[in-house]
Every structure is written in structure tokens, then in C-alpha cells.
Subunit: 147 residues, 4 copies
């Protein structure tokens, strides 16, 4: 697998957090649930804090909550590689649901497979904190506008 | 394409609405945004009422909102074929984003390709009301528990 | 759903067949198995002639055979809309296998959901000739080079 | 990520090769192109030997060739976990094409995300031998028959 270790991330964790608060205030509003834990060149770890409101009957976290986490976190990995590209848009997202999440924080570990001029493609592996088996795996494609 | 015309839907629109209000109160709470417009045997039309809170910067409706609509509406089509199967779970969802939605209600037209004992597979075509071109297309697989 | 009826297809069936024989001789070689049955603006019907060599144990047609048919036929629909774009490349393909194919010709009915300057996205519904239920459904994205 | 290290693979490389030659003679016929390089519990490495016949115009390996490799290799990972389940069938496959393959052998590295009683879900990362960047990434779902 490609190592991006030789490339410098476009943001530190703190810079990314501030940038996301600017462009996605509804997702990142203080007191809410997405936290940038790590950022690399084409990779990141995003924590979704557990809140009772996400619960489905049976005490599990809803599918759309996981889809939103996957979409957001792979987008952050794109930003980590390309810098400020606010108009990059998701064109495809595919998600496999693997097991029911625990009522706990979820962590999405993302990395990009391809960092292109026109398309970025990557994955998010999602698991419940403190539990080894993943709860969902997603891949997504982002179309990057010409600069 | 398979015509399901000879099969009776498991619910009327009114019965489906009441059932969904029971099992998904957080999605269907009165005054909120999902409305069952039509139900058939393995098909349905779901309206997502426009609300400013779904807006992303630029005035468009967010990707996760469309993913949630796709997931929910294909699930309703499963219920329309199989009746009350509250434990059916999404195992895969694939969505292609086609164009930016208008700030308007969205309609998801769903039909199932396969109605099996263990798996149901179907699609949702989503468009903004009053606009012809679709904004997103999704397919999803539901695993049906043994009865 | 978008109707493309007002647009003229970029090829007739005969022109498309000749063009494909030129650029994909290995797929279209005389005596082999892909036949263009219809072409529209962003749509087509492709027949895959049944040959015993595609059979898997149990007498069914293999998954990769259906994936190849889906990929090829959606590409033909792209050509039907855009004309000769030999460098368009598949960037994503998602396929759901619905039932075992019969030992018979298969027909892929394709249409594009999006015909963009940079991306075309469409679907193929595949069924065995003479059988109503579909055997597979695929969606695919093609990246179109700048002209 | 889940480590399957504590589980014993259901086959050695040699046993897997013999079994595949039995059940997929058309894929594994001596002198042809699929080689089992490694097998674990829910994981494997499969080599697709380069042959000129797979080439598309421009000297690259075709998309369907990579789709067939992905489907086959994830199936081998299922066998590596579950043993002889000849009736497991692919229900979904999603593939992202990342860059043009070189005219060289391709290696698919597979691992399963989920090993369930009814469904197995896994990924294949494909790269050209001697080249670091991946050429394709696929995920697939297999439905396992009741035993």
C-alpha cells in the first residue's frame, strides 16, 4: 500500500478543526459530536461522540449516522491531502454494515487510495470505541474542481 | 422488469404511516419531514419535506440527508412487500450523487429488484420536486431475519 | 426521470457496432458474443450471446461475465450520448447479483442518470432472455477526459 | 482491525489450490493464470499472471479482468475462513478503479471484515507487481447457505 509518509499533511489537527468549524458549522458546532483526532496526508481519524439522540430502537446507532460519519471523515482525508478545496463533492459512497454498533463513541479511520487531480478515492473503517470488530466499512469518491 | 402488480401491498399508505410512527418515532415524529406518498408491493414513494436545517453552505441539501432518505425509503419498500419485519437490517448501500439538489422537497421513488427469503435488494431514485433530472440514485440490500 | 428523447443518439446501431469492432476487437470479434441491439442518447440494449464456455459448475453464467456485460454496456450508453470518447474510463462499478442466470442469452438494458462534462453515471439491468425477473443490476461511473 | 491470527486457516496453500482446481477448473486450469500465494483465516493473496490476451488497446489490463480477480480472491478468503462452502454466492461487488495497471502480474490482497453465519464481507486491494500504488480496490458480499 502507498505510504504517504513523505508528504506533509495540509493541516494540523487544530487547523483542520478550525477550518471545519468555519465551513461546516452545523456539523462541528461546539458541544456537538465530530472531533478530529488525527490528520495526515490523505488520512485521518474522526471520533463521533455518542449521543442518545442517534439511537434507534434497540439501543443501536442508526445507519445514516454511520453514513454521515463515513462521508465526513473521508472528506477530511481529502482536505488533509489537498488543502482547502471547499467545492470537492462526493460523487459515490458505498457502505457495508458489518455489525450493530455499541452505544459508545465511534472512530472512523480513513485513508485515500487515490489522490488525483480530478478524483480522490478512499475508505473509512468504523468501529465502536473499545471494541475490536468493525461496525461498518465505506469507500467514497470525491470530485475535485479544476483549480 | 418484474411487475408486482399481481401482489397486494402489505400496507395502505395510512397503515404504513402509523406503523413507521410506532417503530421510528424519531424519523416520523409529527411535524417532521418524512411522508409516505405511495406504497406498493415492493415499491413506494417517500417525500422528504424541505427544512432549512438540512442545508449545507451554498444552500444545498446535504449528502447524508439524501443517504438517510434512500435508506429509509428502500426499507419502506421492503415493508410494503414483506409486512412487519422490524429486524430487517441494511447490509449494503451504494449511492451516486448526480447533481446538487434544489432547496425544495425531495421525492424518493423506490422499487425492489429482488424479494427473497433472506435478502431484499432495491433502488431509490431521488429528485427535487418540480425538477426532472434526478439528484441521486441509490441501491441497498436488506438482510431479512429467519421467521 | 429524465427523458433524453429530444436528443439525437451519436450513433446508429450499425455505426456503433462498427466503432466497437474497431476499438474493442477482442470483445466484438465476429462470431463472438456481444451484440448491439439498440442505441439511444445515453441508453442502449446489449445482448450477450450464450456460450457454454461462460458456464460455472451448476450450469449458470459466471459473475465476472455479468460484470463485463454491465461495464461494456454502460460504456456503450456513454458513447451513445457523447460520441467517440475512446479514453473514457470506468472509475466505479457496483453490482448486485439477484438470481442465477438461465443458460440463455442475456440482455442488458442501460440508461445514464447523469451526462456531465467530467462524469457520466448510469445503470444496467440484466435479465436472461425470455425470463422476466432480473439477474443482476449494476451502476457505473465513467470519467470523461477534457476535450 | 480484527486480527484472525488466533484462528486456523481452513486450508493450506496447496490444499486450496487443489480444491479450486476441482471446483473452478475453468479458472484454475493448469497453465492459466490464477495462483494462490497465501491463505489465512479470512484472508489470502492471489496472483493473476500477466497474459497478453487480457490487454485492452493502450496495453492495459481490462476492467473485467480486475473485477474477476477481485471476486475470485475474496471468495478464496471466504473459503479460507469457512472451509468448503461451494454454494456461497456473491451478492454485491463494488470496485473503484484507481490507476491503469501495468502490463505485469497483478496481486490481490484480501481480508474479510465480517465472517458471519449468513454473510461474509471483505475487500481486495489490487496492485501491479513491483508497483506500490494500488490499481483497484473492491469490496464484496457473499451469501453463505445454511448448513
Amino acid at each position: 500500500m502507498r505510504s504517504h509518509a513523505r508528504h506533509t499533511p495540509a493541516f494540523t489537527v487544530e487547523e483542520m478543526t478550525h477550518y471545519l468549524e468555519d465551513v461546516f458549522p452545523e456539523v462541528m458546532a461546539k458541544g456537538t459530536n465530530m472531533v478530529v483526532e488525527a490528520v495526515g496526508y490523505g488520512s485521518c481519524i474522526i471520533r463521533l461522540k455518542f449521543r442518545a439522540g442517534q439511537l434507534r430502537p434497540g439501543g443501536t446507532i442508526s445507519g445514516p449516522t454511520m453514513m454521515g460519519l463515513a462521508d465526513f471523515s473521508i472528506y477530511v482525508a481529502v482536505l488533509g491531502a489537498l488543502g482547502k478545496v471547499p467545492l470537492a463533492v462526493t460523487t459515490n459512497l458505498n457502505i457495508n454494515f458489518l455489525k450493530k454498533p455499541e452505544p459508545a463513541d465511534m472512530l472512523a479511520e480513513c485513508r485515500l487510495f487515490k489522490i488525483g487531480k480530478r478524483l480522490c478515492i478512499g475508505e473509512a473503517m468504523i468501529h465502536s470505541e473499545g471494541h475490536e470488530d468493525p461496525v461498518a466499512h465505506a469507500t467514497a469518491t470525491y470530485s475535485v474542481p479544476p483549480r
